[in-house]
């Protein structure tokens, strides 16, 4: 039986929906063609991270006059030059310190989000503090980042902290890694210093397994190579940091064509009597929507088109996509990360937490998960702990059967362990109360990620990254 086809959906151009198909912005509208790019910074105050962020915001004109005035006044109070707003005389770090305690103590406590835009892109910058709980903050910032900028002080070169940062980025599979060699002015814009650090970075990155690292010499304080290419570094022929950020591909752009379709169902939309008023008051009284039933969610990976075969996980039932709705606007195809509703050919039992996948692209659902855990809580992990696992739109109980190792972030090697503490990253084996369609994070970022939640107080304990089961073979995962 075919239900919910476009033919029996009746009038669709009602209310605001009528305008959606004629989405227009006038010629010259700022940002009309801009895409969205998310990046994070990793490094400590000593590396000049806050100054770099302040410089990016300032030079891209994201700091407005009243904010700059306030920062200039505070800088003057603290002994900076502070004359006529010249950036070299203000404390750029003040632009990013948000909370009272941070300003009073001169530290950064938490991940802060900043926004700026160029003609090509709107940027969301997750500014991750380095000193306090750097693993927690770097994991948080990197989890949504299309790129991460790691800072190195040109006077110090590659430190253990750099290795730790690169390890976290490797683990989270951040698609683009940039290293900014900062304070290049303090080493006399020396090419030799830059070349040495660049070689060290590439060597360490290769050891850890991070590829295609771009290394840029910058002076956040003076502005060299941050927004514009610097005349002080004629030996550096690459683009400025901002130029690179403007042109790197986003995670979704990189993965859209490669990954199979996955769609965690958030809600079943079945309005019956509770139709939107403008539809209920249509000529037919909303009769065409009486049997409407669609599955709402955000495309986690890949794409789906009308007519394609899908399989529901974990039940394994199959159907065909007969319609894709975006707020009353029918689409032929939806791609990650669009939020849409799918209508299916069969009325099958689908609930929140199920995953709709392209048929033939998924192996077996599993009750045993092997995973890397980034432990983010002061409450330590012990074997035998009962936890909640949130994966996609489903939360199930889990039992931590074993902690099998702890990662040495400086070497990316695993040592034996039986528990994890705050900021540790280690491996664990978890038994689930009911099966989940988990996949290896190494191949499926979205369906390979989960949260570990404390069932008592509800706090987030860890970020989980699914690993292949021991003995798994890649081929088997694509056979049903």
């Amino acid at each position: 039986m075919s239900i919910n086809t476009d033919e029996n959906l009746g009038p669709r151009r009602e209310g605001f929906l009528a305008e959606r198909s004629e989405v227009r912005e006038p010629v010259g509208t700022p940002l009309a063609h801009a895409t969205l790019f998310r990046f994070a910074t990793a490094g400590s105050v000593d590396d000049g991270k806050s100054t770099l962020v302040g410089r990016l915001l300032h030079d891209s004109k994201a700091i407005l006059a009243d904010t700059l005035d306030a920062v200039t006044r505070t800088s003057a109070d603290r002994g900076f030059g502070g004359e006529n707003g010249s950036t070299q005389k203000i404390d750029l770090a003040l632009l990013t310190d948000g909370l009272r305690a941070e300003r009073e103590q001169g530290i950064t406590i938490d991940v802060a989000y900043r926004y700026f835009a160029t003609d090509r892109r709107s940027f969301i910058l997750a500014d991750c503090p380095g000193h306090v709980q750097y693993t927690k903050n770097t994991v948080t910032g990197a989890s949504t980042a299309d790129a991460v900028v790691v800072l190195i002080d040109a006077r110090k070169g590659v430190l253990e902290q750099t290795r730790r940062h690169l390890s976290v980025l490797r683990l989270l599979r951040v698609p683009n890694v940039l290293v900014a060699v900062n304070k290049i002015d303090l080493v006399g814009f020396s090419e030799d210093v830059y070349r040495t650090i660049e070689a060290d970075v590439q060597k360490v990155a290769a050891e850890i397994g991070v590829t295609d690292v771009v290394v840029v010499p910058v002076s956040a304080l003076e502005g060299d190579n941050v927004v514009d290419r610097s005349a002080h570094t004629p030996w550096y022929t690459g683009p400025s940091l901002l130029d690179i950020l403007e042109t790197l591909p986003t995670t979704d752009e990189l993965e859209r064509g490669l990954e199979p379709f996955r769609f965690p169902v958030q809600l079943v939309i079945r309005p019956q009597g509770a139709l939107a008023p403008e539809l209920a008051s249509a000529d037919d009284g909303g009769a065409s929507f009486r049997d409407y039933r669609a599955y709402a969610g955000q495309v986690a990976s890949g794409s789906v088109s009308v007519g394609e075969a899908i399989t529901v996980l974990p039940s394994g039932r199959t159907a065909t996509v007969v319609g894709i709705d975006f707020a009353g606007f029918p689409l032929e195809r939806a791609v990650a990360p669009q939020s849409v509703s799918l209508r299916l050919s069969e009325e099958i039992d689908i609930a929140r937490g199920d995953v709709i996948a392209a048929t033939g692209t998924f192996g077996e659902v599993s009750q045993d998960v092997y995973a890397e855990l980034c432990w983010l809580s002061t409450k330590p992990l012990r074997e035998g702990a009962k936890v909640l696992i949130k994966h996609g739109s489903k939360t199930v109980q889990g039992l931590v059967r074993a902690v099998t190792g702890k990662l040495d972030l400086a070497t990316f090697a695993e040592a034996p362990a039986s528990g994890l503490e705050l900021n540790d990253i280690g491996s664990a084996q978890i038994r689930l109360a009911s099966p989940l369609p988990v996949e290896s994070y190494a191949r499926h970022r979205r369906t390979g990620a989960f949260l570990v939640i404390d069932p008592q107080d509800g706090n987030t304990l860890a970020a989980g990254l699914v690993k292949d089961h021991p003995g798994d073979h890649e081929d088997e995962r694509y056979v049903i």
Partner: protein
């Protein structure tokens, strides 16, 4: 005033599917968050003042649940000093969408002696008590707000799902890490969550979206002639709660409001932006922040917003 006609020099700017533009991505992110909260909470509500951010929130909610109606009530904390045209717009919008409106009244709390009028006459900080009262009375466990991280330094550090304790307080030093697009809404009895689906939008994004989606707003967001006087570098409307002092000269000026809040502390800006596209251009070229230009209450100290949020403010 509110419905803008589209001029003829327009070009098709909807990005092809393969290159979703920034508005498409922000919209999908917000809809995902709204749906998560509705799925995971028993009694959500949306803070709706008739201001542009809450209007955009409501528009996103209608899209998230189409063809169903928005499955939660809206809550307005009325300072008693709101612009009449905004209250009229609020009521009309709620009726159009068939929603239930809950109102928490600052005036009622002042009348009963539970709140005291401030010496400066500003009522924005007084909204916290009626807000928490309405949340408790209605047993709301999740409250959607239109807060954006670009508004303020403290907001820049707040999570999309922000846990509040029994006293509605925000503890900035003890926030849950927010990873990937997995939101943790677990809470215990007495706690509730404030949800900010448009955290990642900027003022310019909001206006571009209003233009693109042809969303109706209260007329005072567009340039109009008004009786105003200058105070603290802002244009204040002449009204019952914002009387000019004898030395302040009243003139008629073309102004618009960038934010719409309590009349006693919201200032207008000089503007000739009559259409939504004019406003988009004006916002893009602006050299002042939204709150700095128009909100007296945020000028009190560098940490004014942080202090209010810790006490349970929006």
């Amino acid at each position: 005033m509110s419905t803008q006609t589209i001029d003829t020099e327009l070009v098709q700017a909807a990005a092809p599917l393969e290159s979703l533009n920034s508005l498409d991505l922000l919209e999908s992110e917000a809809i995902h968050i709204i749906r998560e909260v509705v799925a995971e909470f028993e009694r959500p509500a949306l803070l709706f003042s008739g201001g542009k951010d809450s209007v955009v929130m409501l528009h996103l909610a209608t899209k998230a649940f189409w063809p169903g109606k928005v499955p939660f009530p809206v809550l307005h904390v009325d300072t008693g000093h709101n612009f009449p045209e905004v209250i009229e717009f609020r009521d009309r919008t709620v009726e159009r969408l068939g929603l239930r409106l809950e109102v928490g009244s600052v005036q009622a709390f002042i009348d009963s002696g539970e709140l005291a009028e401030r010496a400066d006459g500003t009522r924005n900080p007084l909204q916290t008590v009626p807000l928490l009262d309405a949340i408790a009375k209605n047993k709301f466990d999740a409250v959607f707000g239109g807060g954006r991280r670009d508004e303020d330094k403290a907001r820049a550090k707040e999570r999309i799902l922000s846990l509040r304790d029994e006293f509605g307080q925000w503890d900035p030093r003890n926030q849950r890490p927010e990873l990937w697009n997995l939101y943790n809404g677990r809470h215990t009895v007495g706690q509730h969550v404030r949800a900010f689906p448009i955290s990642n939008w900027t003022e310019l994004d909001i206006w571009r979206y209003i233009a693109r989606e042809n969303i109706e707003l209260p007329g005072l967001y567009y340039a109009h002639d008004r009786e105003v006087y200058e105070r603290d570098g802002m244009w204040r409307a002449v009204g019952p709660v914002s009387e000019p002092r004898p030395d302040e000269q009243v003139i008629i000026k073309q102004v618009r409001y960038r934010t719409v809040g309590d009349m006693s502390c919201t200032g207008a800006v000089a503007s000739d932006a009559v259409t939504v596209h004019d406003v988009v251009r004006e916002v893009a070229a602006s050299t002042l922040t939204e709150r700095g230009a128009t909100r007296a209450d945020d000028r009190i100290s560098e940490a004014a917003m942080e202090d209010r949020k810790k006490d349970g403010y929006f």
